[in-house]
Amino acid sequence: MSVPRSIDRSDLGGATVTVPTTTETVVLVGPTLQPPKDTSIVAVIVSLSMVQGTGATGLTLRLRLGSTVGGTQVGQPYVVTTPSSIQTLTVSFVVTFPAYSTDYVQVCLTAQQTAASGNGNVTAAAMVAISF
């Protein structure tokens, strides 16, 4: 058992982020969280709402270290398969990962459409990161 050691958040507010066809795109950059110096667990909770692009049959959501799609993926990706009749979806998920001997941890949320010929739009996204 542990107690929370730090908590912070990031939020799109009323902004919209475009996800071009099938390109993995950073949707939201998380807070710079200060975890305990020795070892800790970081839990990241994410909610987002997205209007899919034309032809999209699915969506892959990932958390990556840092603020770009070049960052190392943490946890496993969440893959949402959608019938073509679904145009707008809301998804929430949780990723946890260990942190060792780090001063700060930052992750970004990325989205990648499957089989889309049109751009998607993320219309809502919020992230909270907790270390313990």
Binding site: S10, Q34, I86, A124
Partner: protein
């Protein structure tokens, strides 16, 4: 960096709130006591929708106060419904910066367009830090 300062929850339990095209309050959150200076409030919500009829769309929103007239907290979460879908469980999350407040309170609202359904469960969970 912050630490949690206060936490509270409201569980509406088993409810039966019809959603037929009008924004409707399905749960009023707790009166959360915030740090007096400045803080961030994290609000997490979960709704269980049943009896979904027809293809359309629905929107989950958060408003300050206890009614649909309260200021909207961005963003709004939207999703499509599919005929024959039956039921759906959705979670959503918001954060808001507050300062110089003693208490904050939010209400969770649901609206539908082109589809009718019933909100059968709603939970609001708030943390200030």
């Amino acid at each position: 960096m912050s630490l949690p300062r206060s936490i509270d929850v409201v569980d509406a339990g088993s409810i039966s709130v019809p959603i037929t095209g009008t924004e409707t309050v399905v749960a009023v959150g707790p009166r959360l006591q915030t740090p007096k200076d400045t803080s961030v409030v994290l609000i997490q919500a979960c709704v269980y929708l049943t009896g979904i009829s027809g293809a359309g769309a629905a929107t989950i929103s958060l408003r300050q106060g206890t009614t649909t007239a309260g200021p909207l907290v961005q963003p709004q979460y939207q999703f499509s419904t599919v005929a024959g879908e039956g039921s759906l469980t959705l979670t959503a999350m918001w954060t808001q910066s507050v300062s110089q407040t003693d208490y904050v309170q939010y209400s969770l609202t649901v609206n539908g367009s082109g589809a009718t359904f019933t909100c059968s469960r709603a939970v609001l969970h708030c943390i200030s830090f």
